[in-house]
Amino acid sequence: MRKRLLVWSLRALVLVFALLLWEWAGRIPISFAFPTATATGRALIDLLRSGELPDGWRSTGHALLLGYGMALVTGVPLGLLMGLVPPLGRIARVYLEVLIVMPMAALVPLVILTMGVNIRASATIVFIFSMPFVAINAYGGMRDVDPVLIEMARAFNARWFHIVRAIVLPGALPMILAGARYGLARAFIGLVVAELLLSPFGVGHLIMDTRSTFEFDKMFATVLSMLLVAVMLLSGAQHLESRVLRWRRRGEEGGLQ
Amino acid sequence: MIVSAPMRSQVRPLGIDVRNLSKAFGLVLALDDVSFSVRPGEFVSIVGPSGCGKTTLLKIIAGLIRPDQGVVEIGGLPINGPGPERAMVFQDFALMPWATVLRNAAFGLEVRGVPRKEREELARSVLAKVGLSGFENYYPHQLSGGMQQRVGLARALAVNPQILLMDEPFASVDEQTRRILQDDLLKVWADERKTVVFVTHSMDEAIYLSDRVFVLSPRPGRLVRVLDVNLPRPRSSKETRGSVLFAKLVEDLWEVLREMQ
């Protein structure tokens, strides 16, 4: 108990120290542009109240949802298919591994040239950042499935469809969910890269715009909003994931009774 | 000719005095006011059901854990952490998988700063003593469990300790290998007299090896009985295990343990 108190107080200390450092750095100032922590906080409230931030997030949110949604809708079935059809899996895996290692930002100019500067292009960029990770994790999940269980089901003369539904999918679920989570993190990365490089609208535009008008406190506030949204959504996804998986495990135990 | 390490015949075993040892982990009292003495050169075993604090007791004697209360004196002097006069052998062998048998055996010497050529020579000689000549360049994963434990034993012997602390060293090997290792241990012990504190689950093993057996009760760990084992030495599987006295002692020990359940 005492240890927990110590840890939390040390954490608070580190946080306070970091904030104070930020505040002090802004006041020196470390660079004429650097806003203090308090200025940033104030700007955040201003932006929220003025509606600039929510407006920016509306179009940004669209791009994110569209791109990530497409990534899930194409990535998961692709991974499943790759697992069910091994030769396809082996070949597609090569492409996916290339896409995973490759800096996707390098493709952004190409996307901009072919699609222009609009939400569709942003969503596409989010998609290409995210999909390979979703797919390869889903594929990994498929390969994780215990072959002994499949053999058992076939021994009981279960139909192929039933095997997929009752054994393969539940077995692959943990990695599919993990892939969805990684995919979301990647989607945010793609979103930020798209927004910062395209930026005629949305949060990225707000960042670049406030920078060019030297409103650095607003710029930092916008950056902060992006960080907070990303972290919150991801930790939410993490909680959801553990909740679903825990429920699954308990469900299995319940079945044994 | 090895000069810096003391000549083996000159190393005398030391006695251990444990007084009022208590140790708690959180709310669990692992050891409660445990006191006993081990005479120099004596071979004692500590037995008891799971969770009775045997390993904790051994680790306190080794200097790895600090007791909440009480002292451990070795050769009349209180201990303060690990020391060169004690060496430990572990249940899961604790061999570094990335090092060869030779390096593993020489590890205790390496830590103490013994120069490479010297410690390798020493390591080779102890490895020969435990019957592992020729395996110096093997890696642990290439050896059987019994052989791995021999390396662990060699490592302990290489630092020429006066006290050997053994934590269920043969628990992870099969029965046949276990018996062979027990006899090898007795042989080595007869050769270079050390004080041995041997923790085990097995009543058979405790009686077969020791001069005295200490019985610990579980949660909290208390010393409930000390059995004298008056079996003649040298001991052998056939004669000692076949004797009536042996069977009686094992039964006596079993009685004590059974009462605790």
Partner: protein, 253 residues
């Protein structure tokens, strides 16, 4: 038996080779149909690539990018391993910094690039720092996991033989964590390269990222593809090299 083994190795590489050939072939065929300005023939791209390397700015850009990369990744590796050792060894310290590390690992790192620009101006420092950021935390987290996974009995054993804190760290924790460190380095390097491209694209000071932005701006499509392929190739080569090094480390575990 040996011949069969050799054949198997070739068969394993087949999907990769097949995939590459398929891709290049598809690009060539599609390009011939002149569907769009944006789908040039593969051969055109290769020719442009050759030109760019020989007489164009590509070679210089590659060198500059690699230079920035190495300057950013090296401190990330050293720092990440050291920090990972400390965090793995001292759970209290780790517990204190956990939420902060978790925050940064969840955060989209490109978001920090404009912040760094404000802090340090438009300079190469920002590129180096971005590479560092992208690589450091991954190396840290993996090193820490490796250290935390060290077998307790090995630590006890070393301490029982009188090893000092430094000795235990160097002789037990570090070797035990080596496979995880190798993984961390592999992932960190791959991610660091991504950071490099992103930063170079946003700063436009030099290197491959700048070329990408430049050629896109002036609609030099084949040039753009050529640079993209270069980046892809570098990423693949780097990943392959790092993978091989990884295998070396795992050998004795």
């Amino acid at each position: 038996m040996k011949r069969a083994c050799r054949y198997k190795k070739i068969l394993d590489r087949l999907p990769t080779a097949l995939a590459i050939v398929l891709f290049a072939g598809a690009m060539e065929v599609v390009g011939r149909y002149d569907f769009s300005l944006f789908l040039p023939r593969f051969s055109t791209i290769m020719r442009t690539l050759w030109n760019l390397v020989m007489v164009g700015p590509l070679w210089e850009a590659i060198l500059r990018s690699v230079d920035s990369f190495v300057m950013g990744v090296t401190p990330a590796a050293v720092g990440g391993i050291l920090a990972g050792l400390v965090l793995g060894r001292y759970p209290l310290i780790a517990a204190v910094f956990d939420p902060f590390i978790g925050f940064i690992m969840s955060a989209p790192l490109p978001t920090f690039v404009p912040v760094l620009i404000v802090l340090f101006g438009v300079g190469r420092v920002v590129v180096l720092l971005t590479v560092f950021l992208f690589a450091f935390f991954i190396i840290l987290v993996n090193t820490r996991a490796g250290v935390e996974g060290t077998r307790r009995s090995l630590v006890d054993m070393a301490r029982s033989y009188g090893a000092s804190e430094v000795q235990v760290l160097a002789k037990v924790y570090l070797p035990s964590a080596l496979p995880s460190i190798a993984t961390g380095l592999r992932l960190g390097i791959i991610n660091g390269f991504k950071g490099l491209i992103i930063a170079e694209m946003m700063l436009g000071l030099g290197g491959l990222g700048r070329l990408l932005a430049q050629y896109a701006n002036v609609y030099l499509i084949s040039h753009l593809y050529a640079v993209v392929l270069t980046v892809m190739g570098m990423a693949l080569v780097g990943a392959y090299v790092v993978q091989a090094l990884d295998g070396l480390f795992i050998r004795w575990k």
